[in-house]
Symmetry: C2
Subunit: 157 residues, 2 copies
């Protein structure tokens, strides 16, 4: 399993924005990202879980410097998308485990998540793709997380 | 923006599993994926949003044929992770928009999400990486979603 992982990356220039309990109807996601795209704000992670009782949270990350501008845009559309709140947190960083052919995430995920647990680092957001497992954690733990993930996958030899 | 997109992919062999309101404490994610990895179940998407009041939903996808086995594993750990419920849905498919250098997701996301809205296709889950924006939708809309995404990014020429 760990042979599949080729590196660990991090990005401290992320701020997390969460739209709380938006309507789960076609068009809501477009209403959120169209004005953000028009403002040329670079969005990195977008994470949405299935809704319960017709509402769901939508979370995404932007560069820390774009937080205020993004919040201004979202306040204008808040009632259209039915959001009960807009939360944000700039004390975050993204750490990612990278590997080619990671089709089976569960093995790599289990190693990565328990490495973070061993250092008592809480995972706020998880998002995966074929080549990467990304976690948003508290920014102060970035270096510790990168070191412990390197060790967990034997990359520090 | 659309020049960045090189293709659209889909995978109908996905079933969605959601653990409702797990404890948001270090170690919970490891407790979920360690037994799943030991059972050699291939996990594709893993999606988790930040918690509210110390609890959050954790969603992931497995091949449709592994749904029962996965649910059996989760029932054994349900109380350890504090889950108030375990939901699953096999009537789903993953559609993804693929492009290199997609660092700025908001533009591509805005086009993809409005293409799905125009066909009244609801997005259940969203997960992104540098090269891909993936959405889980109802399985019956797979071909319609792929066609409309092709058109939206001018890939059908
Ligand atoms: C919440 C949002 O993703 C909604 N389901 C949509 O399709 O736009
Ligand atoms: C919910 C889960 O991700 C938890 N925060 C953990 O770190 O394991």
């Amino acid at each position: 399993e760990s042979a599949m992982v080729s590196g660990v990356a991090y990005d401290k220039d992320q701020a997390r924005i969460t739209l709380v309990e938006v309507f789960d109807e076609p068009g809501v996601a477009a209403m959120i990202f169209e004005p953000i795209s028009r403002a040329n704000i670079v969005v990195d992670m977008i994470v949405q879980n299935p809704s319960r009782e017709g509402k769901t949270d939508m979370t995404f990350t932007v560069p820390k410097g774009n937080t205020e501008e993004t919040l201004k845009i979202l306040k204008r559309i808040k009632s259209d998308i039915g959001a009960s709140g807009i939360l944000h947190d700039a004390d975050v960083a993204k750490v990612s485990v990278i590997g080619v052919g990671m089709r089976n995430h569960s093995g790599v995920a289990a190693i990565a998540f328990s490495a973070l647990k061993n250092e008592n680092i809480n995972i706020m957001i998880i998002s995966t793709s074929e080549i990467k497992i990304s976690c948003l954690i508290e920014e102060k733990y970035t270096e510790l997380a990168v070191r412990t993930l390197h060790e967990a996958f034997g990359l520090d030899k």
